[in-house]
């Protein structure tokens, strides 16, 4: 949590409430800010994150959109080029696949191609679906696609403070910023400063200090990793847990610094492992801190197939705390029984909750 926030009253909010508050404050602070999306002004307000805003700010600032993802993303870019600060929302990451040409072709390149004269102060919120059988077309995170594009910033908030603070920072930023918001992070609660406090868009934050294994995770995976790190610590392996926060630009420095200490790196991707953020982190760390590595880095992430709907198939799809704990323990060289014991405890603890709803223990800030 940044300094300024400490000076402010904090309340316990869910990330969804924090996003709503941030949006309200952004609209209040700057008349050029506006919101657009399918459902932005409807009674449910994008999982509650825009609920009621149209009543307060009117339909010209909280704009309901037709089913035209490509056009309204382009409209937002055009307005941003003229100095407005749109917040575009797609209720699922997948819907934004229809708008990638605008985002990758125009928004990401406008500043560059205009030789620095044009700015696109655009925020795009993309919601990752998970649970209750979302299935192949409503459950992808695709952060690696967005993170592959120079000119974008890509944020992955993991807790309510960042859900609010990174949204405010994105709105204040003069670049197109894509925020990948996990539905299960929406439910996470924690203390959030009351004021319009932006957190930075600069890079990782350390959630937990440790000396044995560096674990890098983002968004909801940071929550799973935190449970794993706590369990691992009881079993004698101390995890240096890093919440990636920003997938582009990727600031490797804190990770390199950590690996210099631990010599061991585990990455946990929200999306597919293959060509995921973990690939870039492992490659970058290996290139730049090869001598420090004491063991082969390990990546976790979703397997190379679409997100299945049925709970029996989806259960094995996502990396969980027990998988992370097992990978971290193995990487640290623990004997197999001690590795297994922690994983079993984590599984047992999880057993009461169905796998297709979030674990109730997740509370921020991390």
């Amino acid at each position: 949590m940044p300094e300024a926030a400490a000076a402010t009253d904090t309340r316990i909010l869910t990330a969804a409430e924090a996003i709503l508050e941030a949006t309200d404050q952004a609209l209040a602070a700057d008349p050029t800010v506006f919101v657009m999306g399918e459902g932005a002004a409807d009674p449910k307000g994008i999982f509650g994150t825009t609920a009621g805003l149209v009543d307060r700010w009117g339909p010209d600032r909280v704009m309901e959109m037709p089913l035209s993802e490509n056009a309204f993303t382009g409209v937002a870019i055009g307005a941003a080029l003229m100095g407005r600060r749109p917040i575009v929302i797609h209720q699922r990451v997948e819907f934004c696949l229809l708008a990638l040409e605008q985002l990758f072709g125009t928004a990401a390149k406008a500043h560059y191609v205009s030789n620095g004269r044009h700015k696109v102060p655009l925020t795009v919120r993309l919601v990752v679906g998970r649970g209750w059988g979302q299935g192949p077309q409503h459950g992808q995170s695709l952060e690696n696609l967005f993170a592959a594009v120079p000119g974008l910033k890509v944020a992955l908030p993991a807790d309510p403070v960042d859900a609010k603070g990174m949204l405010l920072a994105a709105v204040a930023d003069d670049n197109p910023v894509v925020i990948i918001e996990h539905r299960w992070v929406h439910y996470v609660s924690g203390p959030v400063p009351a004021g319009p406090v932006a957190t930075d868009l600069t890079g990782p934050k350390t959630l937990r200090r440790g000396d044995d294994v560096t674990v890098v995770a983002a968004s909801y995976m940071a929550a799973e990793a935190l449970r794993a790190a706590a369990a691992r610590a009881n079993a004698g392996v101390s995890v240096d847990l890093i919440d990636l926060r920003l997938a582009r630009p990727l600031n490797l420095e804190p990770i390199l610094e950590s690996v210099q200490r631990t010599g061991r790196l585990l990455t946990v991707d929200l999306g597919h492992k293959t060509l995921g953020l973990g690939a870039e982190i492992v490659a970058g760390v290996t290139e730049r801190a090869f001598g420090a590595l004491r063991a082969a880095p390990v990546r976790l992430g979703t397997p190379d197939h679409p997100v299945p709907s049925s709970r029996s198939l989806a259960e094995a799809f996502y990396a969980r705390a027990d998988h992370i704990a097992t990978a971290a323990g193995t990487l640290a060289g623990l004997p197999a029984e001690r590795v297994a014991a922690v994983a079993e405890a984590l599984i047992a603890e999880r057993r009461e909750v169905p796998f297709d709803v979030p674990h109730p223990a997740f509370k921020g800030p991390f």
Binding site: G39, L67, F95, L97, L98, G133, P306, P308
Partner: protein, 324 residues
């Protein structure tokens, strides 16, 4: 049974039975959804039965339809297997997708339900592609894209209409205008002009029909299908209808305030199942309604029982079938 009123269209009774079946199946899903074993989103089409059933009436099993997130009705009307559908919604290995897709991905190759696609608009070019395949193969099959009013806002709908028109393909764009995209009324999303103007802009013959009048729908569709089979190209049909229950899920949602109770009631008064039942009753052709319902309920119960009895897919198979 002999028709008490010989003037009544002989198609009406089987169409009624099909609509009733569809209604009872979706009501059963709604009722049992709270049991928490159908662990995927469901988009019910209660109230829209005449559109689905009327549109599929002139189709042959080897014709193909493409559907959307709201696919139950189309799937069933085209002859899709009920047990495979319920298996899918229950996430079972017996589901049409083996549990991989959930309720928004229904298909049945044998019945000609080619695919359902949960991304709005994205199924439309697939129908055009099926029509292209038919034309290339030189046979007289037709493809039908079912779409909602909202999907006409997607660029791909326009690109598809244009392409079908230029290539003269045997495809029918069947629009169910239920006035809403989720909770957003048409007037907030499109200008005030008939939806058929879109078909006209792409050079298509168009028809607008009462989507709650199953025979009117079937007639419009028959004209279009006939045109397509004769190699005369695509048609756009707009059927005005209404979704009764919430956009996604088993409940009613008028309490949300996005539409008025009065509007809802006026449409419910024009229930496609009920109004057809009345016509048949008046003609003395529905003395066995109670028996019909019983038979259908038995079929439904059996299908639910089968779905629930089927195993969940083996987690070890999750990675299969990534590549053919």
């Amino acid at each position: 049974m002999t028709a008490a009123n010989p003037d009544l269209d002989p198609r009406l009774r089987p169409l009624y039975v099909a609509m009733l079946r569809l209604r009872l199946i979706e009501e059963a899903i709604a009722e049992r959804y709270a049991g928490q074993d159908m662990r995927c989103p469901v988009h019910l089409s209660v109230g829209q039965e005449a559109a689905a059933v009327g549109a599929c009436a002139p189709l042959r099993p080897d014709d193909r339809i493409l559907s959307t997130h709201r696919c139950h009705g189309h799937y069933l009307a085209k002859g899709g297997d009920l047990t495979a559908m319920l298996g899918e919604i229950h996430g079972r290995a017996s589901g049409c997708c083996g549990g991989r897709g959930g309720s928004m991905h229904l298909f049945d190759d044998d019945a000609g339900v080619m695919a359902s696609v949960p991304i709005v608009g994205s199924s439309i070019p697939l129908a055009v592609g099926a029509a292209l395949a038919f034309k290339q193969a030189g046979d007289d099959r037709v493809a039908v894209a079912f779409l909602g009013d909202g999907s006409l806002e997607e660029g791909v709908a326009h690109e598809s209409l244009n392409l079908a028109a230029v290539q003269g393909l045997p495809v029918i764009f069947f629009v169910e205008n239920n006035l809403y995209s989720v909770y957003t009324p048409l007037a907030q999303r499109q200008p005030d002009r008939p939806l058929t103007a879109i078909g006209a802009a792409h050079g298509l013959p168009t028809a607008q029909v009462d989507g709650n009048a199953v025979l009117a729908v079937a007639d419009a569709m028959e004209t279009a299908v006939d045109r397509a089979r004769r190699g005369k190209g695509p048609t756009m049909i707009v059927a005005d209808t209404y979704r009764w229950r919430e956009h996604c899920g088993p409940n009613y949602d008028n309490d949300l305030g996005y539409r008025t109770e009065a509007e809802f009631l006026s449409w419910r008064d024009r229930c496609p199942v009920e109004t057809t039942a009345q016509t048949l009753h008046a003609a003395g052709q529905l003395d066995d309604d109670a028996i019909l319902r019983l038979t259908i309920r038995e079929e439904i119960d059996a299908a639910f029982t089968a779905a629930l009895a089927a195993p969940l897919p083996d987690p070890a198979t999750a990675g299969a079938h990534v590549h053919a």
